[in-house]
């Protein structure tokens, strides 16, 4: 395998892993707060659409990325509001939000841009690395990747080391105990949803940057894969990042095989199933390993 092919594969894997990792790290906040958000999928889609819309209207990459984060947070706020104020079930509200995202994005696209199809944005394209363009490039990624990486690092550090992270985890461990310690769990859950929505929205904006456009249905299950990554990574930022690198590699491998000629290229569409199948398999095997380890621990505890 040539060095350029390896570099191309690594860049592709990193580019695919980054949005999943950011969305998963945001989702970790809701998991820690005891109110896991499944609306991440919808927030990615809304974020991508908001970024492309604002990016193309303003001509600014920065505003596009900001708009993506805000769009994702807005959708998450509906779920958090329904859960906190109306005591709606957060899971069902999340499913409703995902459904809302698909319909609303399509309707808005038709209303404002006269199309339900691809929405190009040259401004967002400036955030992606293009070979030969002479623009910014780092590990094969564009400038938007740096924003994504910085956001992911901030989320991971805040979760692991800040007082906010500690209080968030406390609010997820038990409402009564948290209240006794002066923590208002509902408030922390609300903030956790906003953080998760903004992170997923930014992840969607990054995905739009990589293709310089919003493409209908472009989230394509990545929000759910991010949820799997949270548990595959043992609910720890480092583990989640590693899990996402695995998932990113699977997407990159799928893309690489689709680029080959002959029989493989003819059946390229089928290869798109591989990341989902492999994610499911990895998740099942990891859980099996965890169960075995727990049993061993239990047996050792009994014998001692």
């Amino acid at each position: 395998m040539s060095a350029s092919l390896i570099a191309s594969f690594a860049a592709s894997a990193l580019g695919a892993a980054a949005p999943i990792a950011l969305a998963a790290l945001g989702g970790l906040y809701t998991a820690a707060a005891g109110s896991l958000s499944v609306a991440i999928e919808g927030s990615i889609l809304v974020g991508a659409f908001a970024a492309a819309s604002i990016g193309s209207a303003s001509g600014s990459l920065e505003l596009g990325l900001l708009g993506g984060a805000l769009g994702g947070a807005l959708l998450a706020a509906t779920v958090a509001g329904a859960a906190n104020k109306l005591r709606a079930d957060v899971f069902v509200a999340g499913l409703a939000a995902n459904m809302l995202a698909g319909g609303a994005v399509s309707a808005l696209s038709q209303s404002f841009f006269g199309t339900k199809g691809v929405l190009p944005s040259d401004a967002l394209g400036r955030g992606a690395a293009h070979s030969g363009s002479g623009g910014f490039s780092f590990l094969g990624q564009g400038s938007a990747f740096l924003v994504l990486a910085a956001a992911a690092a901030i989320l991971a550090i805040m979760y692991a080391t800040s007082v906010f992270g500690l209080r968030l985890k406390a609010s997820g461990q038990g409402s009564e105990a948290a209240r006794a310690a002066g923590i208002e769990p509902d408030r922390y859950r609300f903030v956790a949803h906003l953080v998760a929505g903004a992170a997923a929205g930014l992840a969607g904006a990054y995905m739009a940057c990589t293709v310089a456009a919003f493409v209908p249905g472009m989230s394509a299950g990545r929000g759910w894969i991010a949820l799997a990554a949270i548990y595959l990574g043992g609910r720890k930022p480092a583990g989640i990042t590693l899990s996402c690198l695995l998932f990113g590699s699977l997407f990159a491998l799928s893309n690489l095989l689709q680029g080959l000629r002959g029989q493989v290229a003819e059946n390229a569409e089928l290869l798109q199933a591989m990341p989902y199948l492999a994610s499911a398999l990895a998740f099942i095997l990891w859980k099996r390993r965890g169960r075995k380890a727990a049993r061993r621990k239990g047996a050792m505890g009994e014998s001692s």
């Binding site: 499944v38 005591r87 409703a96 319909g103 949820l227 003819e266 089928l270």
Partner: protein, 378 residues
Amino acid sequence: MKVSRAIFAPGPAARRAMALLAALALAGLYALAAGGFRSSALYAFFVSPFASPYAFFSLLERAAPMLVCAAGASIALRSGAMNLGGEGQVAFGALASALAIEFLSGLGTSPLLAQILAFIAAMAAGAFLAWISAAAEKWSGADIMLTSFLLSQAAVIAVDWAVGTALREEGSNLLAMAPVPAAYRMLRLAPPSPLSAAAPIALFIAIASYLFLSRTEKGLEIELYGRNSRFARAIGIGSGIRKLAMAASGALGGFAGAFLVLGPAGRAMKGMTGGLGWDGLSAALVAGSDPLIAAPAALFFSWLDAGARQGSLLADLSPDAGAIMKSAALFLVTAAAIGGGSRRGAARGAAREAARGEVREAESGARAAAPRREEGTL
């Protein structure tokens, strides 16, 4: 004069109905605002789906597979599992039925027998896909919610590839398999409308699912396991019952897929599921995982879809309004179902469980959002 407080504290079913009415009111406001405050927009959205036999029968035909999916989703929900793989199970069922009917019609099998075998093949395919998630849960503890979704995504892609590439009809412009011979399609009840035998069959399946869950021993076991798996295991109900429930759920998803192939469309096409699995799950959640109540819920969702479609043709409304209104209904119903009165305790319980942060607890939270009946009536 003293007025009973009960008037102001309607039960869960009434609250669900009120939530759906609120969703309809929202749809009306949307139709008015988007249609330039013209009565024609309201007419297009609300009345035109019922304005002619053709339109109404189309609505019924669309509701039929949704109802079967909803019945399947209800069985999984009752067992405490959130089956998010409906789309894949529908797609698998559709492909299996298309292959079966192609093979059997080639052999010259009688149409009725071929149809029965095609439905069985569809159910087996859907059941197999759903069963994998339940078996994986037993083997490793992997959450059904995530594995069913991931496997479904893969299944939909694989079926789309098969239908649009490997098994595609030669020389056709469509990304589809060869059409099912006319004699092997389901009976059309009111031609030229698309209404087929799917509608009465779907109603029969909903009733049968309801009776299975409420009147049989296995149904009770599913219910008990869903309510409290630890208690269920203590009285000898093993996790096999979850596998049975998931397999039944997937089988009904596959059955709905066969409707798509053997119905008016008459062939397996790329992208044919069109969100049917999600709509079925949503209808089941709105109906509180009661297969009988799922019938009006599926009709309601089908009405919203048809209204949005008619509105886009007659009053320049967005055809996506249906999806938006369905999500509004789901939001309102989940809030109404556990937001007040007697359900507050259930919500708190679900929140406590979810606080442990496991996906499994989120599933149980979803179950709390879809109460079937008052606690203690088992």
